[in-house]
């Protein structure tokens, strides 16, 4: 047992804690968007913690360095893909018309879409006027 | 020539199916010629295999990869398999010719691939000697069958295919659970070794496992609770495909059923399975015959008749004696010939007249005399009139069941024949004495030749049944005599 493996174990612990939080959020949150937010955000963090923690732990326990290299590669891949897929999913949900929770205060994407539609409308009107 | 070349039976349809995407630019007609060519080649290989097996009297064991049986997968081409592989190839060849007239729905290249793979699947199911490989070939057959059922892309076709998929999916899951149980208790998948170990398996496991296998195969073999898909699929599928379903796909299922059931004939709890099969078969016969009476569509009526005949075969196979199995195999051969003829002629009428409803058959005797004649012979044969082939197999089934003390089974066969006589005679009456609209339709030469060949075959078996009965006897013994099966497979000493 040395510092590296101790850090690894701590990271795994933190990761599992985030997993727990995301599971909790999945049950507690009111609508699709909020659930998605908690689950993906903390699942990303949780997976990163667990994966890198495992790598550190293995190196600390005297296994080959390949462990940490592989885990870093896996972690990078997750870091790249998980947010993108979550984003695409939520966008799909919004596009197919799943309503927001009643208590929501901001809807930036909706505003953006509306602004875009208005801009297109204005352009069309101007085009008609000429 | 080396017996291992019998693996061409599987390799040839596969490689030619994979080749189709490369030649699809040539157009539909060229692809149909290609299809005919390949099926003819396959029939050639099958004829060579048939000749080798019946002249040497020994089965060909194809060992894939050179591994001896329990380790590798073997194809066991014994007397039964050699005969039926030939039937499969010949029926496919005829139906490939029939496809020229009857299949115009695009895409023809995909039709050709699926056609070849259906043939491959049935061949593999009949030939394989490994229980999981049987599952794989069964899935090849059934997934191709799903696709071909829906091929016409009408609402009815899609609906029939959907029914088939749901039932088939449940059936294949049951089959796989059965394999799991049997593998779990023996540690092997090879049929010969399973037969060797059958006596030592826990009786509950064998009972549950085998009944699951029976239920799984009952979808392909069209036995009672799981055959709801069959009439719809027969009606909706393209005409050549219907004939193939009836002539060999269902036979492959029945064969697999009989093979698996008799493999475990030394196991405790075997009688239970036989009883289950007898009940399923009897219910199949009755349900199908009475539904057939009500049909207004001739293709659907013949489909029901086909299912009831399948019930008779299953009844014969589940009698549990050597004679019963032989009679069942004889009935399989006759049924394949007769149903190919019936579906060929009915399909041809459907193509030329524009539908297969009973009204389209009115006055067919003067409209298309040759087709009507062939259809009449087929119908009379299906009823079981003396001098036609099915008479003899029904007689043998009755003898076999009385010999085993199941007199009521003989009653089932007779009752089924009476009901069949009612609706087939109705059809014949409509054809020859119904109103005629004064139109003559030119009949095509190749199809006429095929139909005449089948008619002659029916009459030949009907008048001289002995050579064919000898064939059926050796094929039936191949299924029934498990100890010879075990002795024929060169098992390598991987044992406990």
């Amino acid at each position: 047992m040395n510092v590296l493996s101790a850090t690894g174990e701590a990271l795994v612990l933190i990761g599992t804690f985030f997993y727990f939080l995301s599971a909790l959020g999945l049950i507690r949150m009111p609508d699709v968007y909020n659930r998605m937010q908690t689950s993906t955000k903390s699942a990303t963090l949780g997976s990163l913690g667990v994966i890198i923690g495992t790598g550190l732990w293995a190196v600390g326990m005297g296994h080959s360095v390949a462990w940490i290299v592989q885990t870093v590669v896996v972690a990078t891949f997750i870091l790249l893909t998980n947010p993108i897929s979550a984003h695409a999913l939520i966008r799909g949900a919004y596009r197919s018309g799943i309503p927001l929770w009643n208590g929501s205060v901001v809807d930036k994407y909706g505003e953006h879409l509306k602004a875009k539609a208005e801009a297109a409308e204005n352009e069309k009107n101007e085009g008609d006027g000429e | 020539m080396n017996g291992q070349y019998a693996s061409l039976l599987v390799a040839l349809p596969l490689i030619s199916a994979f080749f189709v995407p490369l030649i699809k630019g040539l157009g539909g007609r060229a692809i149909k010629y290609y299809l005919t060519l390949i099926t003819a080649l396959q029939a050639g290989v099958a004829a060579w295999v048939f000749k080798t097996v019946y002249t040497t009297g020994k089965p060909i064991i194809v060992m894939a990869g050179g591994w001896r049986p329990p380790v590798g997968i073997d194809l066991y081409i014994g007397h039964f398999a050699a005969l039926f592989v030939l039937i499969v190839a010949l029926v496919s060849f005829f139906m490939a010719i029939f496809s020229f007239d009857s299949v115009s729905t695009e895409p023809t290249d995909k039709y050709a691939m699926l056609f070849l793979l259906l043939m491959l699947g049935a061949t593999g199911m009949i030939a394989t000697g490994d229980i999981f490989n049987l599952f794989v070939f069964m899935e090849i057959t059934s997934i191709t069958a799903y696709a071909l059922t829906a091929y016409n892309k009408t609402g009815e076709a899609a609906e029939a295919a959907m029914k088939y998929i749901v039932l088939g999916g449940i059936g294949s899951s049951f089959f796989l659970i059965g394999i799991t149980l049997i593998y779990g208790s023996t540690g092997t998948l090879n049929m010969a070794q399973l037969a060797q170990l059958a006596g030592s398996i826990n009786p509950t496991v064998i009972k549950v496992g085998l009944s699951l296998l029976v239920f799984g195969l009952a979808v392909e073999a069209e036995l009672f609770p799981l055959n709801a898909w069959a009439p719809d699929a027969y009606q909706a599928a393209p005409h050549p495909v219907t004939a193939m379903f009836s002539a060999f796909v269902v036979k492959a299922g029945l064969y697999a059923l009989a093979r698996l059931v008799y493999l475990f004939s030394h196991a405790a709890g075997w009688d239970f399975i036989l009883k289950l099969l007898v009940i399923m078969a009897t219910l199949t016969v009755f349900a199908a015959e009475f539904s057939a009476l009500r049909q207004r569509d001739v293709k659907r009526m013949i489909a029901y008749s086909s299912i009831s005949q399948v019930g008779l075969i299953a009844l014969a196979l589940s009698v549990g004696s050597q004679l019963g199995v032989q009679a069942g195999v004889f009935h399989m051969i006759n049924h394949a010939v007769v149903k190919t003829l019936l579906f060929l002629t009915v399909g041809y009428v459907g193509v030329k007249v524009g539908g297969t409803g009973i009204e389209n058959f009115s006055g067919l005797g003067r409209k298309m005399p040759l087709t009507a004649f062939a259809l009449t012979v087929g119908a009379l044969a299906a009823v079981g009139i003396p001098l036609f082939n099915i008479f003899w197999s029904k007689v043998w089934i009755i003898i076999a069941s009385i010999e085993q003390g199941y007199a009521w089974e003989a009653g089932v066969v007779l009752a089924a024949s009476v009901v069949e006589a009612v609706y087939y005679l109705r059809l014949i009456h409509t054809m020859w004495f119904g109103g005629w609209d004064g139109m003559r339709i030119r009949e095509s030469l190749p199809l006429g030749t095929i139909a005449l060949f089948l008619v002659l075959l029916i009459l030949a078996i009907g008048v001289y049944p002995n050579p064919f009965w000898t064939l059926a006897k050796s094929a039936g013994t191949d299924i029934f005599n498990v100890s010879r099966y075990i002795a024929n497979v060169p098992l390598m000493g991987v044992g406990p």
């Binding site: 984003h87 | 994979f18 080749f19 590798g72 793979l117 696709a147």
Partner: protein
């Protein structure tokens, strides 16, 4: 609404089936060593096939016939889907373009996913995986492109012949075995010449397993992307 009667009938059926299955399973206790043929495989796999992954050796070599059938099943699925969803003229009809994040991300990740799929099927004889997972991974790369871009289509002219050629390649490898070793699907590379015996457990070993898995990987990748394409394109009405 599903009627209560139907539900209760279904539950009774399930109880009967479940009891029946559980009785059978009780005769096959969990976690016990009941290997018969499996033991033979484990003991001889390295010497007889040159692969360290016993599962792959069984899939490709000992039970190669199953795998041939498996490839065929997938081929049937792709052909069948193509036949059912065949249109005289077809085009993508997706309405919404993927967002900037999705488009950039998929362009960035596409080569890496392809590389990862290739890695999986080339190393089938060493690590878990093989042709089917590798091919599926490759197909996901194309699926992502389909999702991100409204007008993307796979190169049909390349993929359809490739699918057929890869399948023919597999059967041909088997037929070469029939010609050389007089058995269909005979592992002629390992059993005849023992190529790769020196580096067991490294990439260049395992007889014909890597070759077959490469063919399967290509075939599965093209097939699954073909299925995705058939399902995502629709008929153009003129």
């Amino acid at each position: 609404m599903v009627s209560v009667l139907k539900r209760s009938l279904a539950i009774i059926t399930l109880l009967i089936i479940g009891y029946w299955l559980a009785q059978g399973l009780a005769g096959v206790p969990f976690g016990q060593d009941r290997m018969l043929v499996g033991k033979y495989y484990l003991e001889n796999v390295k010497a007889q096939t040159g692969a360290v992954n016993a599962v792959t050796a069984i899939v490709v070599n000992y039970r190669g016939f199953d795998t041939l059938g498996e490839v065929t099943v997938l081929f049937i699925a792709s052909t069948g889907v193509g036949a059912l969803l065949w249109r005289r003229k077809k085009r993508r009809t997706a309405k919404t373009e993927g967002s900037v994040v999705l488009r950039t991300g998929s362009e960035l990740l596409f080569p890496f996913i392809l590389m990862f799929g290739t890695y999986i099927f080339i190393h089938g004889h060493l690590t878990p995986g093989g042709g089917f997972p590798g091919g599926a991974t490759i197909a996901t790369a194309f699926l992502i492109l389909y999702m991100a871009f409204v007008d993307y289509e796979i190169p049909h002219r390349l993929f359809e012949p490739l699918e057929g050629l890869a399948g023919m390649g597999y059967v041909l490898v088997g037929l070469i075995g029939l010609a050389i070793g007089s058995y269909f699907l005979f592992d002629w590379i390992w059993q005849t010449w023992h190529w790769g015996a020196a580096n067991l457990g490294r990439l260049f070993s395992g007889g014909f397993i890597p070759i077959i898995y490469t063919l399967i990987g290509l075939k599965v990748g093209t097939e699954l992307s073909g299925i995705v394409d058939s399902m995502l394109t629709e008929e153009v009405r003129e």
